[in-house]
């Protein structure tokens, strides 16, 4: 149960991080934040995505091995 709650929290934070990755450039485009703020927010949110997504275990198991694509 505890583990499940933890997974839910880390999963939610991971998705929130991706949301920030999307929101930051939009806010910059709209002129609400500066370019530096956007880049810093994007960098921090990116790191957060990797930390929380790996903690949550956002890894799909593909049904078969396949070749990489261009």
């Amino acid at each position: 149960m505890k583990n499940r709650i933890l997974r839910m929290i880390t999963g939610g934070l991971a998705l929130l991080s991706l949301g920030v990755c999307l929101a930051a450039p939009i806010l910059y485009f709209l002129g609400r934040i500066s370019e530096d703020s956007y880049k810093t927010a994007f960098l921090i949110a990116s790191i957060a995505w990797f930390v929380f997504a790996i903690a949550r275990g956002f890894v799909r198991k593909p049904p078969a091995e396949r070749e990489p694509m261009p």
Partner: protein, 454 residues
């Protein structure tokens, strides 16, 4: 069959033993799983280059949008109507199905050709990553049209990255693949963020009122860069269609669709190609326009998304080069059966690293992608003919398997002959595969029918 061939093909079979049997119904996957699987695909380092090259080749905005919409639709339909039905009916990988049709010898040659093509592709991925790392050290990216390495610094960066990617592929392919699964959605966000953030630099108003005007005059303005061929609507359409030719018309995605409950799951590929081969290409086009049309993926991403952008280019190259090296190693292992896995990956990695030093592979990426698909396409046509056309015409199927042929010489001759004809056709490189597919289909059917008559 000569002893040497017997040994080689036995070793090859052993490598692919795990997927020899047809998939059983208990292992079928749901449509949702396929949608999820495809959603993370087709966002690789090469996307930074392809979309940017569309700008440099002077493609107009309307031609680009229409070409990508229709071309990707044709790609999705090719997966749905060509690849998926054969996979669902046979439940086999292309490897095992081709073995029944063309014999183990032709399958071996196909594997080696695939390995070489993978190495070139992985080399291009490393080159793209090198542009990001080179930016940190002030190493200039080779100019458009360059074939040889432009500086010692470029060679050193490429070798360092190639060595790092190869070492990591040797140490932990499986773990890296899982990491790539996590990186994939984020890399897509790097494209989107980079494009959105590049818009103010191009003069787009926050209201987006002048977006189309900027798009048609500053991004896809229809003017090719100096020394670049002018391309148009049909080129874009065909490029989007053949970009994954080896996977759909070439049938290598049978490995995936043999797990599908229904052939209509081919439609789920739309979840992958439209974000990756439409949005990401549009995004990289915007980014290259924002840096003054300089083909420099590292700079494009850095200007648009800062350090995270550089990390995005590096990771996009690494996460796609990793499985490419693995597959190249797997294919090469068939000819060196007693070698340990690490050694063959090292060989593939070394070859890839050498190729990565030559910028021509990423600077001519569009042409290379066309050649990659073209080389493997005739095999898809041969399998298609054997699967669908032979039963209609009453030609015996799977003769190689039934008669124990190492080589179905007809298949080999048709494969090589089609390539010869395709390369001689007076058409643009992008358009040659389509007549080539029909030539292979008709030639293989005709020759096998003639053989029956004899």
């Amino acid at each position: 069959m000569p002893e040497r061939w017997t040994k080689l093909t036995a070793a090859m079979d052993k490598l692919y033993e795990f997927d020899r049997e047809a998939v059983t119904p208990d292992k079928f996957q749901s449509g949702g799983k396929f949608a999820g699987l495809f959603a993370g695909e087709h966002v690789a380092a090469t996307e930074f280059v392809i979309g940017a090259f569309f700008v440099l080749h002077g493609i107009g905005a309307r031609d680009l949008l229409l070409g990508l919409l229709i071309g990707n639709l044709l790609a999705v339909l090719s997966w749905t109507f060509v690849c998926a039905p054969i996979a669902v009916r046979t439940r086999l990988t292309l490897y095992w199905y081709l073995r029944k049709i063309a014999g183990p010898g032709v399958t071996l040659i196909y594997n080696i050709a695939n390995a070489f093509l993978y190495c070139v592709l992985a080399g291009a991925m490393i080159s793209v990553s090198a542009t990001a790392v080179g930016l940190l050290f002030g190493i200039p990216v080779p100019k458009l049209g360059a074939i040889l390495p432009s500086s010692l610094g470029w060679v050193l960066i490429s070798v360092a990255l190639g060595a790092a990617f190869t070492t990591m592929a040797i140490l932990g392919f499986a773990k890296l693949s899982r990491f790539a699964e996590v990186a994939s959605p984020w890399i897509f966000f790097v494209f989107i963020a980079g494009a959105v953030a590049a818009l103010p630099r191009l003069g787009v108003d926050p209201s987006l009122d002048n977006f189309w005007q900027v798009a048609t005059t500053k991004i896809w303005n229809g003017v090719a860069a100096a020394g670049q061929e002018k391309l148009g609507f049909w080129h874009v359409l065909f490029f989007a269609w053949f970009c994954n030719l080896a996977m759909h018309i070439g049938l290598s995605d049978m490995a995936l669709f043999r797990y599908a409950r229904k052939w209509t799951y081919g439609l789920f590929t739309a979840f992958g190609v439209y974000p990756g081969h439409m949005l990401a290409w549009i995004a990289s086009g915007i980014m290259v326009a924002a840096v003054g049309r300089e083909m420099h993926p590292g700079l494009m991403a850095y200007q648009a998304a800062g350090l995270a952008g550089i990390a995005g280019v590096l990771l996009a190259g690494w996460t796609t080069a990793n499985p490419t090296l693995y597959r190249a190693g797997l294919a090469l292992q068939t000819i060196t059966p007693n070698w340990p896995r690490w050694k063959i990956t090292l060989i593939a990695g070394t070859a890839t690293t050498i190729l990565a030093c030559f910028p021509v592979f990423f600077l001519k990426l569009l042409d290379y992608v066309a050649i990659y698909g073209l080389v493997l396409m005739p095999i898809g046509a041969i399998v298609f003919a054997e699967h669908w056309v032979f039963p209609i015409l009453g030609i015996e199927q799977y003769q190689a398997e039934k008669r124990g042929w190492a080589f179905n010489w007809t298949a080999l001759v048709v494969w090589l002959g089609t390539l010869g004809v395709a390369f001689a056709l007076p058409l643009h490189l992008y358009f040659r595969w389509l007549p080539g597919w029909f030539i292979a289909l008709l030639a293989y059917t005709g020759l096998m029918a003639a053989r029956r008559a004899k």
